[in-house]
């Protein structure tokens, strides 16, 4: 992707990338002559495509970690090796390197966004619905929870009940 400032006829430069929201990412580009900024929005599929290719917006100056794509993107991975790797490496990066690639942070933020157990702005789970959620196999539970919450938000439900879960059932592959 290349961006041209049509007023200056100058190639724009990558400036920043924002936190993801609902899986989408916003990248900012700036004209080095007139400092005009433009924002490029990646929808969740485009963001996911970039992640699947293990590519980073704004460049990547970090040394590749072994199997970094598989280990960071596999939802159903063994938990022990994954958590041990990321907890140590994240803290190491944060303490020893100031210039972390923005997109790496974005990916980390995306995980946090998706794994936060109680999203304060999201719909509220009723005890009955939470009980049903607990019966979903652990390895697909985060994905199911996210899918149900997304369905509830999209359909204007402030509360997730058993009925909402039934309605959301066809939205993703996991059965519950």
């Amino acid at each position: 992707m290349k961006f041209l400032c049509t007023d200056c006829d100058t190639a724009m430069k990558f400036k920043d990338v924002t936190r993801p929201e609902q899986g989408s990412v916003t990248a900012l580009f700036e004209c080095p002559d007139c400092f005009t900024e433009i924002a490029m929005y990646l929808n969740p599929s485009e963001t996911q495509m970039l992640k699947s290719l293990d590519l980073k917006l704004g460049g990547n100056n970090e040394a590749a970690q072994p199997m970094q794509m598989v280990r960071s993107q596999l939802e159903t991975a063994k938990s022990e090796p994954m958590s041990s790797m990321f907890s140590s490496e994240t803290s190491s990066d944060e303490t020893t390197e100031g210039g972390k690639c923005p997109f790496t942070s974005v990916i980390s933020d995306t995980f946090q966004e998706e794994s936060v157990p109680d999203e304060p702005t999201g719909p509220v789970w009723t005890p009955e619905a939470l009980e049903r959620l607990e019966r979903i196999p652990s390895f697909v539970r985060p994905m199911a929870k996210m899918g149900i919450e997304s369905f509830a938000k999209d359909n204007g439900h402030d509360e997730i009940t058993g009925e909402v879960m039934d309605a959301a059932r066809g939205n993703f592959p996991a059965q519950f």
Binding site: K13, S24, Q48, S52, L55, S72, Q73, P137
Partner: protein, 293 residues
């Protein structure tokens, strides 16, 4: 107004540079591998994984250093077949130490990364809706990392067990431009040979990857009592003549071989004198001869 080609770079992301770095990582790792061999068929259920496990063992018994990539990302079975399913992968700064069998064969498989027996491969995403648009890229990326990030060390042979489908070999051929050759697996049935022919065409005529040979798996059944050979599939349908010219070996069906795969034990070690073991060892010799000549 400037055109795409007039602009010097992609605004600083250097996507080409990032892709080049991935390719370089792969090439650097493959530099210590003498020969890469893809095991393919195009059709499922012909025994590719079982053959891969036993060929790897046979080549190891011949004194070679052998690594195996279970390229079936969604249906990984080799960790179980090779008896290393309980192995824990060790991550270091330069790569991932593979699982190693009792004989010293090295293996990387998605099965070694999955949390539970019933855990399928699900990729982290904001939504799984429209996942078909990016899932294949994830799978190719996973295969690339399996090859490039595993600490193989010096290998004589790296075997890749491909999942069914004629589209799989092009992915591998792109990742490994100097792919040494392909072993094509079929069974004596018209249905299998119909699909396998497409795989042969894909390898030989489209990708220009050498065919090391064709393996006729479950070719016949040896009676446990009298030793007589009986056909397991339709006796009136001999192996296609095009395949016969490139035959690497015909492996008799042996329930003990299937049991060894289930148990993760070495069939060749337990039954070295079985007819199937002899054929497997001969095939290993032919593969060696293919690369020596």
């Amino acid at each position: 107004m400037k055109t795409y080609k007039d602009l010097p770079s992609d605004a600083g992301s250097n996507i080409i540079g990032q892709v080049t770095a991935q390719v370089n990582r792969l090439q650097k790792r493959l530099a210590s591998v003498k020969h890469t061999v893809a095991i393919m068929s195009g059709k499922g259920g012909v025994g590719k994984s079982s053959l891969t496990a036993n060929l790897a063992t046979a080549l190891t018994l011949k004194g070679n250093t052998v690594g195996v990539v279970d390229a079936d990302i969604n249906g990984p079975t080799l960790a179980k077949m090779m008896g290393v399913r309980s192995a824990t992968l060790e991550y270091t700064s330069i790569g991932v130490k593979p699982a190693i069998t009792a004989l010293g064969t090295k293996l990387i498989s998605m099965d070694l990364l999955l949390a539970e027996d019933d855990a399928p491969v699900i990729w982290n995403a904001h939504t799984q809706k429209d996942a078909f648009t990016w899932r294949s890229s994830m799978e190719v990326g996973a295969l690339r990392e399996f090859i490039s990030d595993t600490e193989w060390g010096e290998l004589d042979y790296l075997l890749l067990d491909l999942p069914p489908g004629t589209d799989r070999l092009p992915n591998v051929a792109e990742l490994i431009p100097n792919l040494g050759g392909v072993v094509v697996v079929t069974i004596p049935s018209e249905v299998s040979q119909l699909i396998v022919k497409k795989s042969v065409t894909m390898a030989k005529d489209i990708l220009n990857v050498p065919i090391i040979g064709v393996v006729e798996n479950m070719a016949f059944y040896v009676c446990q009592h009298c030793g007589e050979e009986e056909p397991l599939f339709s006796a009136e349908e001999p192996l296609d003549s095009a395949f016969q010219q490139a035959i690497l070996g015909s492996i008799p069906f042996d329930p003990k071989l299937a049991r060894a795969s289930d148990n993760g034990t070495s069939y060749l070690g337990e039954y070295p004198d079985a007819p199937a073991s002899k054929v497997l060892m001969q095939m290993a010799e032919k593969i060696q001869a293919f690369f020596e000549n």
